[in-house]
Subunit: 517 residues, 2 copies
Amino acid sequence: MSTRKPRRRARNKAVTFKLRQPPIRELKNRFAPAAPLDEEQLELIHQSSLDLLEDMGIEVLGDRALEVFRAAGAEVGDDGIVKLDRGLVEQCLSTVQGAFKLHARKPERSIVVGDNVINFGLVSGPPNVHDNINRRRSGNFADYKTLIKLGQSFNAITFYGNQALAPTDLAVDTRHLDTSNVNLTLSDKVFMATGIGAGRALDAAKMCAIAHGLTLEEMRHTPTVATNININSPRKLDDAMAYGAMQMSALGQAVVVTPFTLMGAMTPATMAGALVQQNAEALFGVCLTQMVRPGAPVVYGGFTSNVDMRSGAPAFGTPENSLANMAGGQLARKYNLPYRTSACSASNAVDAQAAYETQMALWGAVMGHGNLIYHAAGWMEGGLVASFEKLVIDAEMLHGMGGVLEPLKIDLEEIGLDAMREVGPGGHFFGCAHTMERYKHAFNEPIISDWQNNENWQLAGAKDAQARATELWQKTLAVYEEPELDPARKEELLSFVANRKEAVNKDGLAWEPELYN
Amino acid sequence: MSTRKPRRRARNKAVTFKLRQPPIRELKNRFAPAAPLDEEQLELIHQSSLDLLEDMGIEVLGDRALEVFRAAGAEVGDDGIVKLDRGLVEQCLSTVQGAFKLHARKPERSIVVGDNVINFGLVSGPPNVHDNINRRRSGNFADYKTLIKLGQSFNAITFYGNQALAPTDLAVDTRHLDTSNVNLTLSDKVFMATGIGAGRALDAAKMCAIAHGLTLEEMRHTPTVATNININSPRKLDDAMAYGAMQMSALGQAVVVTPFTLMGAMTPATMAGALVQQNAEALFGVCLTQMVRPGAPVVYGGFTSNVDMRSGAPAFGTPENSLANMAGGQLARKYNLPYRTSACSASNAVDAQAAYETQMALWGAVMGHGNLIYHAAGWMEGGLVASFEKLVIDAEMLHGMGGVLEPLKIDLEEIGLDAMREVGPGGHFFGCAHTMERYKHAFNEPIISDWQNNENWQLAGAKDAQARATELWQKTLAVYEEPELDPARKEELLSFVANRKEAVNKDGLAWEPELYN
């Protein structure tokens, strides 16, 4: 008996906590898009970016990529500069899909990319991680798993961007196998895989095929994975990015093309210049995917913010960043492309700045009709840190945004004129039947917002949002449950990882794409 | 020499700090309004609120108010219930002004109320005050002055709501004289005066007349002051509020009518019910002003949020609050009325919650096309506290919002294709001529956002936004300068205050309006 008791207590303790949150829901944007550019401005940006592609072009590294451009009719210089004329851009844009479904291994977790649907993604990419228990440290595999678990736990998150953090304790050439395996086993939500080089992209696709129980051939028309590639602004596409994108497109998987355009550093110090450059570079990447495989699912990415012109430090959640998030949507819609944008912050602390910057970017992204909103939970320090506390606070903001996007129910029963008559002037509605029927689910319930009066709040320890977030991510992890996955597929994934590690360690990582046609 | 030196040093020290911020600017909303209600829903709310006014009516306290309603043709019951039929409401609404100017004593500080202009107002009304130096305490006159000075200092603030806080150390019946005097001398921005009873409203108008060098008669067509009145939801208008509004309207000064409609407490626990009640009550107050003086400047106020249905505690910055801010704008525009809304938070700390709640409400208010956005800087704890730190942080958010609302400059020069050619693929734009010409004023400059990298931020003391705000309000106060005012008028204001105090202490405060015709 004495050995069983502690176990039971521990279990009971875990079961007492239940994260109360809105269900996973498909959010559709019913607001008119915020359009900071008028028609003339939009056209000038469009035309100027086509001028850029025609006259200046983009430098491309990688012979296989240059071959694709050449074969499609682009002008390829000896210096690796690729120029696309208007006609060719137009031709490539004629085959894009305005929306597509990204299939999760659990069908209910699939997401629509485009079609006015809004998806919020977990932070991705930081080299460091922070929480209030273990402080700031280099990204590592244990924390990677924790982030995936948290992303699985919060219903506001419907996808993962490329690698939630860089697990710097794992070997560079094989860590993508470990992270994809974690994404496929600790979560049933869709994810973007790192596509640095074709080998990584192909591995991710093969692992998704295993998890989904499909062949690569069957998956060709069933996008299950995506990768985000960056253009190295200004005007440079390197082979690692090009090959990752080409491989994904060849496999019928999705590519998000995102120029990394910080105004004043990678672009002119103007919104006009940044948008032209972003647009030219994004279209260039989009064209590449369509040259590889017309109709391949592809997303227009925008990542335009400004730097602090005194120090060169990147800034996020600025008015410029918010406006660029809106303007990017105008451009993406012009080309009938789904739109990826972000909700970021540059703050060093999980404080008011972290929240207001994220909100500024988030509202810009939502009102700009972003379809994939990256980094929407947990991004800190301009992308150098993934934060558990900020992840929780951001999840609260996203639940709130979900509430804003839910359609309103307005009818005579909801209005309740009879209840008003019953209550009378100066009364209150707490006890009336109309309220009693509804009070349990009347309003969006917060996950960490604290609305106690000051006295009670003081008595409860005067915990600020950050302290409450520390408690919540710990409780959430304590009750986290791994989603179901057929044990055979799980086993197959593990052996795929083991075999590939052996092969990569022996022969190196494949770099060039295998262009399936 | 020894006596002069410290003084010189102190002066130099003060002069070294200059608050870098955008200039005072008139912000026009160029975005399409966010419209959560479709046409049918809007019409149902409109019709239901007219049903409410026709069938149930509003309880009114105060014989002079009942007289006005009776004379205008309303049905006035012995129980003080006033019912307005559709025709009468329509008739009253036919005389409202869609926009008007509220004149400041310094002409450049005048604001347009309506016409798609957005104005952000300082916190008003809290009984308590908080800052990180002196902590939480009851509202007092010294802190009142500090708030007015801070409001004067931040360019994002263009008006003051009714009393920045309640100066509880001053006598209740005469404190309005002291606060109006402070508003008129420590600031040159427009303000709302407390209109609790006609006497206070009349005093405020007379003091404005002195400060502006006008007679009351001349001021009749020059609104210089406003008051916000609340309907005591549900369905009750008390004499203090009614008389304040009637007096202001009679004088040609502006009235903001704001039902205080917390869903689940003062209204049914539904958005539909709250909006119907808000609309009925707001229109009721609007009608009163037009009955007193057709064409009197009046503003449609919305203040709908929800309570925590478990504790009854009010919540702000919730999705419901944000949506109500948008929906209120749809209703106000339907009646061609300027629209007042708010940006509030329920947080007990100046933390991430304070910021994200305020942003949620603020974006709702801005995208809902609010013209007067109350409590936009410094409001805490659901209105129980005015906070100096939050004021600074909110000012930063408002400057940012101002940046979002500024028109974009998009032309070939701004785009800078030549600069892109000059920099070339993979280069950077820091040193190029296009950047050098612009870098000083390229981007919105923050007042407290910190974009340093983590190492430098740690070296600088790892100060979070709140700590930086504490520093900034102190520095701001240290260099605050009283705006110019003709010494004779200043003197006249002081003697008006002294004389009125004597009279009020002797004869009491006038309660009923003097209806100038």
